[in-house]
């Protein structure tokens, strides 16, 4: 079946895989940017209860949070050629990269919409009332008073969403995307040392995630400089 387990190969595989890390990060960044913007457009109808758009947004969010990311990947991957085929454009040879970015953007939008909605909900209603009382219009009140505070509250959840999205991108290879995991698959076929490749992949993903987590922790501390600390069960001296 396989050659003997070789620790040194892991050391060789890590640089090879890291060379494709930019592709993974590119997919992640694009999908987060588009996803956040789209998520904002989904959250607003939900927050302000705009008649039909609210229900549509609800269904959209329910679908993209209620189905696995892999199934979404396949639906978008096979669906784009099907849809464009209806209007005569042949996209069957399209680079799966675009299908992956599209899928992750649509999925992240649903997650972002929920996070933004929760963040806005946590802002004290008095803020909006005060804004109206000094003459700000509805959209000014939202843009200048509510949204900044909502985003600060939502920041930890956003951080979790970013790392969660990073983990989701590891599935893009299943539709043929040549990102870090995709390179891992080709390494497995060429070297026949699958366990070593997966260990190397784990190391790289772990390192990137730890970096992200550190960044979000530091950023969160700076954003929330003035909150008091709460004593918890874990701080007690139980001996």
């Amino acid at each position: 079946m396989e050659n003997a387990f070789d620790m040194n190969m892991i050391g060789d595989f890590v640089p090879t895989l890291t060379a494709y890390l930019p592709v993974t990060l590119y997919i992640l960044t694009l999908s987060l940017l588009f996803g956040f913007v789209l998520g904002l457009f989904l959250a607003l109808p939900r927050i302000y209860n705009i008649p039909i758009v609210n229900q549509l947004a609800k269904v959209y969010i329910s679908f993209f949070r209620g189905t696995p990311i892999m199934v979404q990947l396949f639906i978008v991957f096979y669906g784009i050629p099907a849809l464009t085929g209806l209007i005569g454009i042949d996209t069957s040879k399209m680079d799966p990269f675009y299908a992956a970015v599209a899928t992750y953007a649509l999925s992240n939008a649903a997650a972002a919409a929920e996070i933004i909605r929760a963040g806005v909900g946590s802002v004290d209603k008095g803020q909006t009332e005060a804004a109206y009382s000094i003459g700000l219009s509805g959209s000014q009140a939202f843009r200048r008073i509510v949204l900044p505070q909502a985003l600060v509250q939502a920041f930890p959840n956003m951080g979790n969403m970013v790392i969660s999205s990073l983990k989701d991108t590891s599935l893009a290879f299943s539709i043929g995307v040549m990102d870090m995991s995709g390179r891992g698959q080709t390494l497995i076929t060429s070297s026949n040392h699958s366990l070593e490749v997966y260990i190397a992949l784990s190391i790289v993903y772990y390192a990137v995630a730890v970096l992200f987590e550190w960044f979000f922790r530091v950023a969160e501390k700076r954003i929330k400089k003035n909150q008091t600390r709460i004593v918890t069960v874990f701080d007690m001296n139980i001996h």
């Binding site: 679908f63 189905t67 892999m70 209806l86 599935l171 772990y206």
Partner: protein, 235 residues
Amino acid sequence: MQFDFPFIVSAMKEMVKTIPLTLMMAVLPIVFGFLVALGNIIVRIFRIKGLVACSRFYVSFFRSTPAILHIMLIYLGIPPVADQVSSFFHLGWSANEIPVSMFVIMALSLTAGAYLTEIIRSGILAMDTGQVEAAYSIGLTHSQTFRRVILPQALMVSIPNFTNLGIGFLHTTSIAAIVAVPEITGTATIVASDNYAFLEAFIGAAIIYWVLTLILESVNGVLERKAARFQGGTL
């Protein structure tokens, strides 16, 4: 491009048969993971030397790396070790006899353990420390305090998180299709392989997952309301 509507229904009929296996691969890891998480929590609360760092690394690693890697590491890493153990003790079985879904459940149990540790931890953090002090002051032992005071309150508060985890793991089982486990997504691929109607098959799979998720979400609502009955104010 022909869109084959009837095929969605026939594909779904095949996939519905694999729902039990899918649910098993989602629920068992959460059950085993819960035990693993309890171990982690006990280590952290009582600050058992040496194990706290292990616990932190375990949770950090399994929450920061994709689940597909966990499955692959266990699926590729355990059989050689198990075969060595088997030949050392002359037990006579080989790892080839273990079905892949077992490895998936093993791997996902470790994943679930990490997430559940954080969920239970956050539930405990939300608790009032006065409860624990009061418990010790009336003479409860460590184990009694943990079982009767800390854990029930932490779990009650964490119900939405548990359901979210359940839904998340239902979705994570779809990854098992990559290792050829015949669950919902895997069956979709198989069923569509003769007529290449992949889009229809995966739409059917999406509908099944969506319905299962909606059912789990309504169960969450019921559980939350039941738990709220016990959460009166003070006296």
